[in-house]
């Protein structure tokens, strides 16, 4: 008896930690939903939280039901949401990136199809990623977030150079800034920030081959990764890395304050390729820099590429979805606040460009109308707006893809190895 129990004990010590982790997601239950009542609203931590909070407060004081908002940090958001969606703790309304991230939830019957009458309040192009199989399951809740190049105006003025319009100019700028001991392009390359490296891949592929290539991949034809444009992209990235465009330390640089954001506003790096939210991030960390020192320009064209240089990639917008756990009437009523005048104006003041049909009149009221107009024009003139690949593909394919992209940037895989490793993700 004695020896048996001791062995059990030892096994227990070793096993408890891991077993409990896995067992934690096993609970499930059904929740009943009545038309009115409490709705849990999960949102991502970002500078627009105060606008959402104001909308929630206004809604609650109107007495049509109660919405309680939970703010969750970026790093853990997706896994927390996923775990909760399989359990009885499912939120009623949640924030997402649309596209592939909603597919699984629709297939599993977790989402409520929304009233098509809502569509009239938003720009049609922004609604695409909120639909799954033609059904509206997510409505835009934030501004559009194209990705483009940000730069430090002072560094450019000191060096007497202009922001790049072609890839050759970009390569030339890399040489100039490197010669001055400034990192030409800030890049967050630590293991949790590989999505910033993905932006380079997305833009180069789009400029070389046009948006159709990724459309086919997203549509299920994984063999399209064999396209020569993919290999060419990987080779261009290797050249950039080898030429020191991202500095030597990017592999442990994080995104945001203390990382790329600080590198740019402290003048340690000249440019960064980032989504439009960089403005709000700079605004909360270095307000003066955001106002006076932050320049922005579209991603340069690539000589000889088939893609239109006016195309953009990024997040068309973010979405709010309603689950079967929500009190439906309350949740649907709450969604209407996303195109209310005060909400749209609040977003504009935070530097966002909302995709509601009433947004245009507020853009002049933005803290930086020129920035708002730049984004608006960029998106409006773009023949195609490709959704970020990891969002479009969903996490099951997106996560291994990000890992392979990181290995390419780190020099752990050659361009050829990158292509074959990505092809092997989906058998």
């Amino acid at each position: 008896m004695n020896s048996v129990s001791r062995r059990w004990f030892l096994t227990a010590t070793a096993a408890t930690t891991l077993s409990v982790t896995v067992a934690g997601c096993g609970s499930s239950g059904s929740s009943t939903s009545s038309p009115k009542g409490n709705v849990d609203f999960w949102t991502l931590q970002d500078p627009t939280n105060s606008v959402q909070k104001a909308a929630v407060d206004t809604f609650n004081s109107a007495g049509k039901g109660k919405v309680s908002m939970t703010v969750i940090a970026t790093d853990g958001y997706k896994d927390k949401l996923r775990t909760a969606m399989g359990s009885a703790k499912m939120p009623g309304v949640f924030f997402s990136w649309g596209g592939g991230s909603l597919n699984d939830y629709v297939t599993a019957g977790k989402l409520v199809t929304l009233d098509t009458a809502l569509e009239s309040h938003f720009l049609p192009s922004a609604l695409a990623a909120g639909k799954v199989g033609g059904k509206l399951v997510g409505i835009p809740c934030r501004g559009t977030q194209p990705v483009f190049l940000f730069y430090n105006k002072k560094l450019f003025a000191d060096a007497g150079v202009e922001p790049p319009t072609t890839y050759a100019e970009l390569q030339n700028l890399v040489k100039i800034f490197k010669g001055k001991g400034i990192t030409p392009l800030a890049l967050a390359g630590n293991a949790s920030s590989s999505w910033t490296e993905l932006m380079w891949v997305e833009y180069l592929v789009d400029r070389l081959a046009g948006p159709k290539l990724f459309d086919k991949i997203q549509g299920g034809d994984w063999s399209q990764w064999k396209d020569p444009a993919i290999l060419k992209t990987a080779q261009m990235i290797k050249e950039l890395v080898d030429s020191g465009a991202f500095g030597k330390k990017f592999g442990s640089v994080a995104y945001g304050p203390g990382g790329t954001t600080t590198l740019l506003n402290k003048g340690k790096a000249a440019m960064v390729l980032m989504g439009s939210w960089e403005y709000a991030t700079q605004q909360s960390e270095a307000p003066d820099f955001a106002k006076n020192g932050l320049g922005y320009v579209a991603f340069p064209s690539v000589e000889g590429g088939k893609g239109d240089a006016a195309n953009v990639v990024g997040n068309p917008t973010n979405y709010l979805s309603v689950t079967t756990a929500a009190a439906k009437q309350t949740a649907t009523d709450f969604l209407k606040t996303t195109y209310s005048d005060s909400y749209v104006q609040g977003l504009v003041e935070k530097g966002e460009v909302p995709v509601t049909s009433n947004a245009a009149q507020y853009l002049t009221k933005a803290a930086d109308p020129a920035y708002a107009k730049f984004q608006y024009d960029l998106v409006q003139k773009a023949p195609s707006f490709t959704q970020s690949w990891d969002q479009a593909l969903g996490l099951t394919l997106g996560t291994p893809l990000l890992t392979e992209i990181q290995k390419l940037f780190n020099g752990q895989s050659s361009p050829e190895q990158f292509v074959s490793a990505v092809l092997a993700i989906k058998k």
Binding site: T16, T17, V22, A23, C25, M85, Y105, N190, A191, Q412
Partner: protein, 301 residues
């Protein structure tokens, strides 16, 4: 009454152990929170489960994938390297520190209190703090490049060294505490006898202190091995498995598979393997060290 008779007849040489009833609360807890999940993990390792729909039985699909997965073997190797690295660094430091702090001088008491501070911090806080300190642009490496290199966490060796450093920084105090207690329990008569025989400080340490600390060393090593096999928080927060997947130890790969790609079936296969590994390591350690014989170091005194 009956017990009394049994004891008279058998006349056992050792003290009577408490009965099974004493273990019931612990056993129940263990069954619900350890055995049941373990069985669950084993079952899930033969299924495909995305966390939303019901698990589907897929036979040995996960396991055949597991044995052909080069990432798993790399993770096992890194787990092993970290484990050995932690023991090699922590054991000598904590033995010396523990034995030293066992003295009753006031300066030792004050310094011990300072050494034990890291133990009071949570691993999460420790990892976040060190990540800031080791940041290549704004942390120590930007000022002391000769000591840290320009980017300590940018290479596999560097990242592993950082993990060992931070883990040791946090856990050396704990192991020192074990050794301090054990060193204080060593009878003074042994040292007095050795001094009479002419043994100096070093000989006393090697021939009395170390042998007397044997059981504590085993306990401490088991803690390190089991802790090392499940050390996940520090990797997640300090390196996030990077650069690339270079420090993705087994528990981290398990987490990544389960909660990033939502492949709970395959993650369960990794979990089962980890379970097997941890059990084997513990059993091996107790067998090899004779821990299960429970002999006292006080025999003959």
């Amino acid at each position: 009454m009956r017990k009394q008779r049994v004891r008279d007849r058998a006349a056992p040489p050792t003290l009577e152990r408490p009965g099974v009833a004493w273990a019931v609360p612990g056993l129940l807890f263990f069954l619900v929170f350890a055995v049941a999940p373990m069985v669950g993990v084993l079952y899930l390792s033969f299924t495909h489960w995305d966390g939303l729909n019901a698990p589907q039985f897929t036979g040995t699909e996960n396991w055949s994938r597991f044995f052909g997965d080069s990432q798993v073997w790399q993770s096992t190797l890194v787990t092993g390297v970290l484990l050995v690295g932690n023991i090699v660094v922590q054991a000598p430091v904590s033995i010396l520190l523990g034995v030293w702090s066992a003295g009753h001088q006031r300066n030792r008491a004050v310094l011990s209190a300072v050494f034990f501070l890291p133990l009071l911090l949570s691993t999460a806080a420790t990892a976040v703090m060190w990540r800031q300190l080791l940041d290549p642009n704004f942390g120590l490496p930007s000022k002391f490049e000769w000591l840290f290199g320009s980017n300590p966490m940018g290479t596999q060796q560097g990242a592993i060294a950082c993990l060992v450093l931070v883990t040791s920084w946090q856990f050396v105090p704990f192991h020192s505490l074990l050794y301090q207690g054990a060193a204080r329990a060593v009878p003074h008569t042994l040292y007095q006898a050795a001094a009479i025989d002419g043994a100096g400080r070093v000989r006393q340490f090697v021939h009395i202190t170390l042998p007397q600390l044997r059981n504590t060393m085993i306990t401490s090593t088991i803690f390190m091995v089991v802790g090392g096999l499940t050390a996940f928080d520090i990797v997640l927060l300090l390196t996030n498995g990077g650069p690339g997947t270079d420090t993705a130890i087994l528990p981290f790969s398990m987490y990544q598979t389960a909660f990033r790609t939502y492949d709970y079936g395959y993650a369960s296969a990794i979990a089962s393997f980890l379970l097997l590994l941890a059990t084997a390591a513990s059993v091996l350690l107790t067998k090899l060290s004779g821990y299960d014989k429970m002999t006292s170091t006080m025999e003959g005194l």
